[in-house]
């Protein structure tokens, strides 16, 4: 340790118990001035008296502290800590006669140098060794101690009992602690092991270091502020055999990098948000970053501001819960999952049911899709009177198919050909244009013509004859229809398919603005059209479209629809979609269902799925071990007869018949029986129906 007044005087302590002073101003090569070999073991610390020029204090592993006068050959006084080892000694900055000593057993003692017989005060500061202590340079009564328990504690020594006023928890045992000059709340620490960094803490905020020096590659062995009045320069030595002079401005500020906010979406669409209070209080403005201040370290007043701000932080935690009519809530999902029917009824009924459910939950596009699916895959059960009439004309359909319309569409055109020869040209060009512009052009054509076909001949005539002008607009429709269709999709996130189908002539003709078609409208219109061309469609005609639709739903995040439709359609569509994709959909949907704790639905889906990887899900890791209720021995898993006692094991205690369905039993006495019988029994009695006297409990 350097002498505080004499630049050339230096004191060192050695592991052999020697305390040596060196005088660098000595002219000869041997600079050694004094050698005190009084300690028997390692001397951990030497300390010059802050104002008394010739006085030196040492603390040693042997448990003694010695006070040397450099003018004499040996120690003036010896203080016995009456405990193991002294790790640190520090003269008080406030009191001329007082010094603090920290001990390996966790104690800190205060001594008066005039009274070597007994310490003035002792208190336990840490659990485990106290490696260091440091008196506050200004607040004279404050003593900081650091220990192996990774803590730095600040004690107020002015009161009768030492009072712990601050406690900083670091991540490694504290080897050195030094108050920062001119900064009342700051102290620097370095660690003895593990951690190579040097931290400067604001004791008021003991959790995040105010600044960090990260230069060392190995543990720092000593730190010291270069000048008693300069808060900006810190020297440190390290086991990596380097000595660094740190400028405070170069230090990294962990707080700046620390995340001030937390945000998480809950399952039900609620949003938890935690943020630093100042961020919310300030009108949307980020506090100027400390970097701004760094350039002007002279303006202490501003610097203090940063410190104040640093010390006072807190977070506000709030939860945003979406209220009932919000679209973010997931109620629709749960309701849909609960109410959808996926099997057990004819296909058409399932579709209708699901369409109704979707409609009631205010999801028109899904509802429409269900209706469409029903139409596309139902056998036309109705008589088809117009079929013959059409068929005859459809015969020459290929001739008309010079432009790239779908067969069916072309046929429908054909039907109107007589009336529309001119317009068809118009249409044709439009459609071809569309095809160039839109990749979905072919779909667009189909859509338009669907609408066309829905009209009865009478209607067509009337339009043709009465509304010749309107006809023009109607026929330019396909082009207009594209933006329109997108509008629909945008608001309802409807897939192409239902939106296309929904393009009825009415909507396209006059009421283009009213895009909200009720599903029923389109339904009726389409069902008419279905009658017209269904008979000549191949069974798999719609597969491509339906496949796209399901994929569309999946990509839009509505895997529920994709899976439900997949199950309901079953064989009709299954081969169209590759196994891996299906499995992926199932997995995702099941995962969702389980999130919402919809176990029954999830199980139903697993059961109905056709992927082997899925169906095995509820066959895995479920094992029931059955013991015979008579002889209490494990039963083989075949049959109802216990092969040891040759009696029926699962006899209903109420009706004495073998239970072949749901068997419920009391886990206490192992008696039980048919679910309904036991329920009936329990209404009248709490005791076991088998008469064993057990007070049965059924979970």
């Amino acid at each position: 340790m350097w002498h505080q007044a004499d630049d050339s005087l230096l004191a060192t302590a050695a592991t052999n118990g020697a305390v040596v002073t060196w005088n660098l101003s000595r002219p000869c090569r041997n600079k050694q001035e004094h050698l005190f070999a009084e300690h028997k073991r390692t001397v951990n610390k030497v300390c010059f008296h802050p104002s008394e020029a010739h006085m030196l204090l040492s603390g040693s592993q042997d448990g003694f502290m010695k006070y040397f006068d450099l003018r004499k050959k040996e120690s003036v006084s010896t203080f016995s800590g009456q405990s193991e080892s002294v790790r640190d000694v520090q003269f008080s900055t406030k009191d001329f006669f007082t010094f603090a000593a920290s001990f390996e057993n966790g104690n800190v003692q205060l001594w008066d140098i005039r009274r070597p017989d007994r310490y003035e005060r002792m208190f336990t500061a840490h659990t485990g060794p106290v490696f260091c202590c440091d008196w506050h340079p200004e607040d004279r009564g404050w003593l900081a101690t650091g220990g192996r328990d990774k803590m730095v504690k600040v004690w107020d020594m002015t009161t009768n009992r030492a009072k712990e006023i601050y406690c900083v928890q670091t991540i490694a045992s504290v080897a050195r602690v030094k108050w920062r000059p001119e900064r009342r709340w700051h102290l620097a620490t370095c660690s003895m092991m593990v951690d190579h960094n040097i931290y400067v803490w604001d004791v008021r905020r003991p959790y995040i270091p105010f600044a960090t020096f990260e230069e060392h590659k190995d543990v720092a062995t000593g730190i010291v502020w270069r000048n008693q009045h300069d808060p900006d320069v810190l020297l440190s030595g390290s086991k990596d055999s380097t000595l660094y002079q740190h400028m405070f401005n170069d230090a990294s500020r962990p707080e700046v990098r620390a995340n001030p906010e937390g945000l998480s979406f809950g399952l039900f669409g609620d949003l938890a948000f935690a943020a630093k209070e100042s961020l919310m209080a300030a009108e949307g403005g980020r506090k100027p970053c400390p970097g701004g201040d760094r350039r002007y370290p002279i303006f202490f007043f501003k610097k203090h501001d940063v410190m104040e701000r640093f010390a006072q932080v807190s977070s506000v935690l709030s939860v945003f819960e979406s209220d009932l009519d919000g679209g973010t809530r997931m109620d629709w999902f749960i309701e849909t999952a609960r109410r959808y029917q996926l099997s057990g009824r004819p296909f058409a009924e399932l579709c209708d049911h699901n369409a109704k459910v979707a409609k009631e939950l205010n999801r028109p596009q899904v509802s429409t899709t269900w209706t469409m699916l029903r139409i596309m895959y139902s056998d036309p059960g109705h008589p088809t009177p117009p079929a013959n009439h059409n068929m005859s004309k459809l015969g020459n359909m290929p001739l008309m198919n010079s432009f790239s319309l779908k067969d069916m569409s072309a046929a429908l055109n054909e039907r109107n050909k007589e009336n529309r020869q001119d317009n068809l040209h118009n249409l044709e060009t439009n459609l071809n244009n569309d095809e160039n512009e839109e990749t979905e052009g072919s779909d667009g054509q189909a859509e338009y013509l669907f609408g066309e076909a829905e009209l009865d001949d009478d209607d067509l005539y009337s339009i043709d004859h009465d509304n010749q002008a309107a006809e023009e607009t109607e026929f330019s429709l396909p082009q207009e229809a594209f933006p329109l269709r997108h509008e629909i999709v945008e608001h309802a996130t409807a897939p192409e398919l239902p939106a296309e189908k929904a393009e009825s002539p009415q909507a396209s003709g006059g009421e283009t603005e009213s895009v909200c078609l009720t599903p029923m409208e389109s339904f009726s219109l389409i069902s008419v059209s279905q009658l017209l061309f269904q008979p000549r469609l191949l069974p798999g005609f719609f597969n491509a479209i339906v496949k796209d639709t399901l994929a569309y739903y999946a990509e839009q995040g509505d895997v529920q629809m994709a899976v439900s439709a997949l199950i309901v359609l079953g064989e009709r569509i299954r081969k169209e979609i590759d196994e891996l994709t299906q499995e992926h959909w199932y997995m995702s949907y099941i995962d969702l269902l389980q999130r919402f704790e919809l176990w029954n639905v999830s199980n139903e889906v697993i059961k109905l799925s056709t992927c082997s990887a899925i169906t095995c899900l509820n066959q895995a890791s479920t094992t029931l071990h059955i013991n015979c209720s008579n002889c209490k021995r494990p039963m083989s898993n075949k049959g109802w007869i216990c092969d040891r006692c040759h009696q029926c094991a699962s006899v209903c205690a109420v009706c004495h018949h073998v239970v072949k369905g749901l068997f419920v039993w009391c886990q206490g006495c192992s008696h039980g029986g048919h679910l309904e019988h036991v329920m009936e029994w329990l209404k009248s009695s709490n005791h076991c129906p088998a008469g064993c006297g057990h007070l049965c409990e059924y979970a």
């Binding site: 670091t170 959790y207 948000f273 949307g284 980020r286 506000v316 945003f320 009519d325 919000g326 969702l592």
Partner: protein, 364 residues
């Protein structure tokens, strides 16, 4: 519309992370005060703190829940260079009267030599797997070979990312077509290092994680990263919180031959980029159907983003931390009509520009 409830969190320092559990009924918060708190939602919708305990000897950066199949399990990571796994003990020791539960530490993962900045459990189908990333740029992937024994974790992979890592996100896809994938964000402040987001993919043949993609366009520090819930999609969506909010779409390109063992190639599209926070964006979070993205920034606001049918992302709402709506932002259902949409859009823009004016007054 959202109803804001403020909860007296009573953390003594900044809260760094909030995390909902799988079923959305529990919530965990972690703070610089070295503690983690668990909140349970009562039937009446109130949140009650049911556990609060000291977890680390440094700031706790993140907390995350494991899939409930593995029990009530939390993982936390901290400035003290460790990550820890906690399990709730159900039994007599629980103080039922005060509604408190008991959490015990199952393991401490001490491999990192610097602050552990993020911790995430892998999707359930991969088993009980945990990834951590640390400030020295290493991503570590641990696995508990026996899911019943949470105290045994073996370090399976160490991926060196070169840059200081701040956040990780697992690709949640459960499809067999998608190999396990993890995205890593870096908060290195040096903008000359490009590619602050790296994506690593597990290779079945080499049994190692290999870099599949680097998003070279991201040059600013990345604070948070989140894959959208996959839900049967063929592609992946990744949200990134950096100086703005960015949404990337990763479309796996079909491989020419199944024999090629290299990592999957992706077509990376930037779907959206918003700087309306006018500041650092700290967090991004997806809702469960991945239709809505929430982001929070230094402006103290939460912004909600939603895509329309054409993958055009728009702001659909701004939430102030104290609950006051910034404008008439409403998350209305699908029936929103065009006029209203454009109206909301305008007002949002207005609010954003006002916010910009304010921040311009501030230096820095």
């Amino acid at each position: 519309m959202f109803v804001a409830k403020t909860i007296a969190a009573d953390h003594k320092d900044l809260i760094h992370d909030v995390s909902y559990d799988f079923h959305g009924r529990r919530m965990a918060t972690c703070s610089s005060d070295q503690s983690v708190k668990v909140w349970d939602k009562s039937d009446s919708g109130e949140w009650h703190c049911t556990a609060s305990w000291k977890t680390h000897s440094g700031s706790v950066w993140r907390v995350t829940w494991a899939h409930p199949e593995f029990g009530q399990v939390l993982a936390s990571c901290s400035f003290d260079r460790t990550a820890a796994v906690w399990e709730e003990i159900v039994g007599e020791s629980n103080d039922k009267q005060r509604g408190l539960s008991h959490w015990i530490k199952r393991t401490t993962l001490v491999d990192s030599r610097t602050s552990v900045t993020d911790v995430k459990f892998a999707p359930k189908h991969m088993g009980l797997v945990l990834a951590t990333c640390s400030a020295d740029g290493v991503v570590r992937i641990y696995e508990a070979p026996d899911v019943m024994n949470l105290s045994q974790w073996s370090l399976q992979h160490e991926i060196s990312c070169k840059l200081s890592c701040s956040c990780i996100s697992w690709n949640p896809s459960s499809s067999r077509a998608h190999s396990p994938m993890i995205a890593v964000g870096s908060d290195d402040s040096n903008v000359t290092y490009t590619g602050k987001v790296q994506i690593y993919e597990y290779n079945e043949n080499t049994r190692k994680y290999a870099k599949a993609e680097t998003l070279m366009t991201v040059t600013d520090p990345v604070h948070d990263i989140a894959f959208a819930p996959n839900l049967g999609r063929s592609f992946h969506v990744l949200a990134i919180a950096t100086k703005d909010v960015r949404i990337f779409k990763l479309v796996p390109l079909r491989r020419e031959s199944s024999t090629s063992s290299g990592p999957t190639k992706f077509e990376v599209q930037l779907m959206a980029q918003f700087d309306s926070h006018n500041s650092q964006v700290w967090r991004v979070s997806w809702n469960i159907t991945s239709t809505l993205l929430a982001s929070s920034g230094d402006d103290g606001c939460v912004r909600l983003w939603k895509a329309n049918y054409m993958d055009n992302w728009k702001c659909t709402g701004i939430l102030r931390g104290d609950g006051s709506p910034v404008n008439g932002s409403s998350i209305s259902s699908a029936a929103l009509n065009a006029a209203a949409a454009s109206g909301a859009q305008n007002s949002t823009v207005g609010a954003a520009s006002a916010g910009r004016k304010k921040t311009q007054l501030m230096p820095g």
